[in-house]
């Protein structure tokens, strides 16, 4: 007992000595960081696989709360309000905890969070320079892939930034289309592995490259059954699939890069961001059940689904930024017993006005060229959008 008492008094003494402890985020139980994002727009028509509808609408309206839970854990909750066909839906985009005190550069994140595959995916959409994610993201990741799961991340103790991690997710939103609702999907559907390397070139330039692999146990399409009902060509209003990936496969490979430049490395006035990603989605053709795991009809084996984009955004002054993005996606749509190749090309120009760091008004023009894409041919899209943040403003990722 005496030993215990001395320990307790030692703890008490330590508590008394530490007048106040603060973390950089400086959000505590009484003062968590609370923020909201308001996103509204007008758009003359829709982009395929995108969440924004025609006419006036609200984009990602989100409310986030985050704080250090204690000296071991950080937590964040992001609730998203979305309006689809006049109905307001409340979604949880993030609800995770992350360790902050694991040794040797390890950290664990658990709960619902954005996967760290690719470059854009772990960034919040309101920080994007364009109103919608590139077509490849919309096709293969449902715009941005968040899910319930767990991540183990490691950062190497090197001057060259080197991080790597593995994730496991439920994978519901990444399930292949199941028109009859009879398929027995795996509950632990998605595994990912990623690595990122980055550094500086002089004082003005910084770069990062990444490689990711996403294994989707439920990504292969269900074998076609005779007399199956073809789903309607237009899936854009399908409620259950608002965030679901439209085109899936068992294996997805992503290569990404980002390069940023600012004069003298001073990001206050001018800076340039060039980024690009390449996606390859394979093993999506249904297996022939009568032939024990062989692709049916080798002569009809479809090409892999691919997509890429290249984006360049220049901040001309603290008040103005302009962006140019080209992206395309090549997907395979299953019709009865064969695949139809589809292609969507998007050329986009955006101009944004920023009154402060917290308010953006953006005008964007998109030219789409589609080949067999959901029966879609080509179109010109104009989007006028505002994105504004209130409250505590969290730090941005690179």
């Amino acid at each position: 007992m005496t030993r215990l008492n001395t320990r307790i008094s030692a703890v008490a003494a330590a508590c008394a000595l530490v007048s106040h402890v603060s973390f950089a985020e400086d959000s505590s139980l009484t003062n968590p960081a609370i923020s909201a994002v308001l996103d509204g727009y007008y758009q003359n028509t829709e982009r395929p696989m995108a969440e924004r509808e025609e006419g006036f609408g609200l984009g990602h309206t989100e409310v986030a709360i985050s704080a250090n839970i204690d000296d071991m854990f950080y937590g964040k909750l992001t609730a998203v309000l979305e309006v689809h066909e006049g109905e307001t839906e409340l979604g949880l985009e993030e609800a995770f905890i992350q360790t902050t005190a694991m040794p040797a550069g390890f950290s664990v994140r658990a709960g619902r969070f954005l996967s760290d595959v690719g470059y854009l995916n772990n960034q919040h959409v309101h920080t994007d320079a364009f109103s919608d994610r590139p077509a490849a993201y919309r096709a293969f990741l449902g715009s941005h892939y968040f899910d319930d799961g767990v991540r183990l991340d490691y950062v190497a103790p090197t001057d060259l930034f080197w991080a790597m991690g593995i994730e496991a997710f439920k994978g519901d939103s990444m399930r292949a289309e199941d028109e009859h609702g009879e398929r027995d999907f795996t509950n632990l559907g998605v595994y990912t592995a990623y690595t990122k390397i980055g550094g500086d070139i002089g004082v003005s330039s910084s770069w990062q490259v990444g490689l990711s692999y996403l294994r989707n146990e439920n990504g292969r399409l269900t074998a076609h059954e005779e007399h199956g009902i073809e789903p309607a060509a237009d899936d854009g209003h399908d409620h259950d699939h608002a965030h679901a990936a439209k085109y899936t496969g068992e294996n997805t490979y992503v290569a990404d890069f980002v390069y940023k430049w600012a004069p003298n490395g001073n990001y206050k006035y001018q800076h340039l961001t060039v980024s690009g990603e390449y996606f390859k989605v394979t093993d999506f053709a249904p297996l022939d059940e009568h032939d024990d795991g062989h692709l049916h009809g080798n002569e009809h084996e479809p090409d892999d689904q691919t997509g890429w984009y290249l984006s360049s955004v220049y901040q001309i002054s603290p008040n103005w930024s302009a962006g140019l993005r080209y992206g395309q996606v090549n997907t395979q749509e299953l019709h009865d017993d064969h695949f139809d190749s589809q292609k969507l090309k998007e050329t986009e120009v955006s101009l944004a006005w920023h009154h402060s760091h917290f308010s953006t008004v953006r005008l964007q023009y998109t030219n789409q060229q589609g080949t067999n894409f959901d029966g879609f041919t080509d179109d010109n899209i104009i989007t006028l959008q505002y994105v504004m943040t209130l409250g505590a403003h969290g730090a941005h990722q690179f």
Binding site: I8, D71, N319
Partner: protein, 304 residues
Amino acid sequence: MHINSKVIKASFAALALTFASGAQAQLNIFACEPEYAALAQELAPDAKIYSATTAMQDPHQVQARPSLIAKMRQADLAICAGADLEVGWLPMLQMKSSNAKVRSTEQGLFFAAEHIDTLDRLASVDRSMGDVHAKGNPHLHFDPDRLLQVAQALTVKLVQLDPDSKGKYDAALADFSQRWQVAIAEWQQLAKPLKGKKVIAYHSSFRYLFNWIGMEQVGDLEPKPGIPPSTSHLASLQSRAQEGDVMAIIVASYQDERGAHWLGERTNLPVQVLPMSVGGNDDSEDLFSLYRSVIGLLLSLSQQ
């Protein structure tokens, strides 16, 4: 069970202490701004020191870039201005670098602003006021007395992290304090003609310097903190400058000079870029030469 948890906690604390004290022969220091890298150089000359920013970079707007994550991953101590100056990037670096040592000020995180009385604290903050800091102005390194207080607190932190070298840190602080106090007396003498001088400046970057010298900033090129100079705002400054009592327009080394030159041309006021930190001009090689350079440049303006 209660006893067990206490024992476990105590042994964890002991383990942490062992790691903190014994493992590092050379302390690895991550400084958010060059002035704190320079201060660390004075107080821990044997340490490996890295500055996340230069005097040409606005510390309000820094990218949480890969190289900084990699440096913070290896740091034993992170020294930053605090008062929310780095709130846009430091939390992200901490999150991404997974380095428990620099998570809290209880261990290897040091905020200079927590060890002094900051100027211009605000009881309540509203975004319509611009990008203001409720905890006061964070650009405190231009007050030599406050910086000395920071040096003393930083030495306590260095000793806490590396108790074996206490003698060295105490000696370094004694040496620095002695040289610094001599320099303060010199600078005060030197800066006497600047007392009461009025300037228009960009942001409240030199708030502490003007406060210490006894100068007055009568106008800010920014209409509101963080909002870049607008034509209408510059026009209002033009009429203020025409009252004839303004000595010069002051811009820090990482700030855009265009607004200042626009105003300078219309009011015939000289525009002077001052180094915001060590490395902000050729003369500023350490904290001493930074102060000398800034005071010298202001004096040359007052003699015009």
